[in-house]
């Protein structure tokens, strides 16, 4: 066992611990803060609800990965018209273990908007540059080695470039990625520099303690400040194990945009702005499935090797993402013999689609007996963007040589060429027929210097509750239009720096 790491196997009875800072969550935000604070000599405990799954345990089994690495088997549902499927990681390393490994700096226009609208301090491009530089070095952010790029990415790129669109190679946190195309089930080579293989072991090396399989139920308080957290150990099958109490003068919540507001609400925290749990953005995605004559074998080689950035001003990012057979079969609009015939052509399929910088918002609520539930309303404007993004994606795929495509609209017929596509999309696409999913949830504990507008301040400090901080994507004041991981890490590193500067005052 790794020094400093405990799992439910190591816990027989109730646990009572004490430390300087307790961190809830070990993903991009939590692991980063843990490593920074531990390196500065702070006594840190990290509590992670999910299990510890080392690199050697990762396989291509989709079902197993969904059950072990994702919250709720990857089956989250944001209720609305249409509902949006979403997935979050739940394991040591959090969503960085199962994401695609895209590493992009926050767009300057987004930072400027945040600073202007929310009065945020130290959040300009120049302010964050030193953090991004360190992150990119530590996580080996860079371009793919050419031999690892899959044919599906190549085809999508060729189609987009033939149409004259701006296509760029993707930047990823990878150390000579092998191109196993197993990102969403855990990287089996360790090449993806997730928190599991970077900031978590770094934090442990500097003396942090990490308890996996530990769910935090509440933040404990005394007077205006915090005194720690309470929770329980999670036994196999989700059974409730021994109780857990951690006493700490500083509590840092990094459970993601669904669990963070849920925990804060469970703990009776009600910021004056009334914004806790509100303002959810989720970058809706849709998948276009294209069939080619040639053998694509898209599962060989890394997915999302390129991004089409031509339509960023419209809030659209396009990319090719290979889906494993189980994932593809789950979304194909066919069943029985027809499903079998479509899947028989699996090696001739390219899946690609748009990511939409959304304008609509949703909400996280704790429902009695059910726990956190997400509600999200897609706006007409965003629905139109999804349709536009689907059309552009299909156009690029036809240009690349696709013979037919399936669109992510309930009841849509098979489309056999650009003319059919144009005719089909000349008619309105009902919003509720859109098949959407998300892996980027943001904005439910938003930053604002104005306590009347936000939940936390510029550095993640919860308004009105000394010693309580939030540092994950829930603090984003809005969507960022690109992959959010590097932004989460940069803000966490910056917030940790701030904590270290003020550690005497915080008593850590």
């Amino acid at each position: 066992m790794i020094s400093g790491l405990s799992t439910q196997d190591d816990v027989a009875g109730d646990l009572s611990l004490e430390c300087g800072a307790v961190i809830v969550g070990s993903g991009a935000g939590g692991a980063t803060v843990a490593a920074e604070l531990a390196e500065a000599g702070v006594d840190v405990i990290v509590l992670e609800e999910g299990g510890y799954h080392p690199t050697e345990s990762f396989t291509a089994g989709t079902g197993r990965a969904l059950r072990t690495l994702y919250r709720d088997g990857g089956g989250g549902l944001a209720i609305g018209r249409p509902s949006v499927l979403y997935a979050e990681g739940r394991c040591v390393g959090g969503s960085t273990v199962v994401n695609g490994g895209m590493a992009w700096r926050t767009p300057a226009r987004v930072l400027q908007r945040w600073a202007e609208q929310e009065g945020l301090r130290a959040i300009s491009e120049q302010d964050l540059d030193p953090y991004f530089t360190v992150i990119e070095s530590r996580l080996s952010v860079g371009l793919q080695d050419p031999e690892t790029i899959g044919r599906d990415s190549g085809l999508f790129r060729s189609g987009a470039e033939a149409r004259g669109w701006n296509v760029i190679p993707n930047r990823r946190n990878q150390l000579h990625c092998a191109g196993t195309n197993n990102c969403s089930s855990g990287c089996p080579s360790g090449a993806k520099r997730s928190m599991l293989v970077t900031s978590v072991p770094r934090a442990l090396a500097f003396g942090a303690r990490l308890f996996a399989d530990c769910r935090v139920d509440r933040i404990t308080r005394s007077g205006p400040g915090v005194t720690g957290v309470s929770g329980h150990v999670v036994r196999p099958g989700g059974r409730k194990g021994p109780r857990l109490t951690v006493r700490a003068r500083t509590v840092i919540v990094a459970g993601g945009a669904v669990q963070t507001p849920a925990l804060l609400m469970r703990s009776g925290l009600r910021p004056a702005s009334g914004r806790l749990g509100r303002g959810l953005s989720l970058h809706p995605n849709a998948v276009v499935t294209a069939f080619f004559d040639e053998d694509v074998t898209g599962w060989q080689g890394v997915h999302q090797a390129y991004q089409v950035r031509e339509f960023l001003a419209e809030g659209l990012l396009l990319t090719a993402t290979n889906l494993t057979p189980p994932m593809l079969a789950a979304i194909l609009p066919a069943h029985g013999r027809e499903l079998g015939e479509l899947m028989a052509g699996y090696n001739h399929i390219v899946t690609a689609g748009p990511l939409v910088e959304d304008t609509g918002t949703g909400r996280v609520r704790n429902l009695p007996g059910l726990g956190p539930q997400v509600f999200y309303q897609l706006t007409d404007r965003d629905a139109a963007r999804v349709v536009r993004g689907v059309e552009l994606t299909a156009q690029a795929l036809f240009t690349a040589g696709a013979r037919r495509v399936l669109l992510p609209f309930d009841g849509a017929p098979v489309v056999r060429g650009p003319d059919e596509l144009r005719r089909l999309l000349a008619r309105p696409v009902p919003r509720r027929s859109l098949q959407l999913f998300s892996i980027h949830l943001m904005g439910t504990a938003r930053m604002s210097e104005d306590p009347g507008r936000g939940v936390v301040g510029s550095f993640g400090e919860f308004h009105g509750v000394p010693g309580l901080f939030v540092t994950d994507a829930s603090v984003f004041p809005g969507p960022i239009g690109i992959n959010p991981m590097e932004t989460v890490i940069a803000l966490a590193m910056r917030n940790a720096r701030r904590l270290i500067e003020r550690r005497g005052r915080l008593g850590i």
């Binding site: 709720d72 088997g73 360190v134 070095s137 720096r497």
Partner: protein, 179 residues
């Protein structure tokens, strides 16, 4: 939730789930006890879902089963008791509808199809066999870039690489300064 786990005398929900798998999966699901393994996977998957989703999917199964009685060609029979053509037509009709119930049936179909295509032999039949490929490219990675990989991995542990500046705009005082 009665679906997971083996059941010598199948309970109604499990019978409905089996019948549903036979309809929504390709015909080969009836070979080599694949349906049993699909149901096994499905049970595990249900177990990992949040309570609300589990309840909703269980309800969808019951609705699917009992709702068939209202489908005229079924002549009052439950879904689990329909013969193949009628069962297929019933599911086709359900999947073509709009609304919450149809959406739940589509989700159910997605889960069952996912479980079927997670079976290794089914994956091999469609030309997807990732384990040897993963082993080969992982080996190639180490052979091609071994020293760089070791150096990069070590970089994650080098102390003191925190930014030395927070800039004057990190407004607000540090310890020892006025607030």
């Amino acid at each position: 939730m009665p679906v997971p786990g083996p059941a010598p005398a199948e309970v109604p929900a499990r019978r409905a789930a089996r019948r549903f798998a036979e309809v929504v999966c390709p015909p080969e699901v009836r070979a080599d006890q694949r349906a049993d393994r699909v149901l096994g996977q499905f049970g595990l998957m249900l177990g990992s879902l949040p309570p609300a989703a589990r309840t909703a999917l269980a309800a969808a199964l019951v609705l699917l089963d009992q709702g068939a009685r209202l489908y005229p060609p079924s002549r009052g029979r439950r879904f689990a008791r329909l013969d193949d053509p009628v069962a297929a037509a019933y599911v086709r009709a359900l999947l073509a509808r709009q609304g919450t119930a149809a959406s739940m049936v589509r989700r159910l179909k997605g889960f069952i199809a996912m479980c079927y295509y997670d079976l290794p032999e089914v994956q091999r039949e469609i030309g997807y066999d990732p384990a040897p490929y993963i082993a080969a490219v992982s080996r190639r990675r180490l052979e091609s870039y071994g020293p760089q990989i070791r150096a990069g991995e070590a970089a994650a542990f080098i102390p003191g690489t925190r930014p030395s500046v927070t800039g004057p705009s990190v407004a607000g005082p540090a310890d020892g300064q006025e607030p």
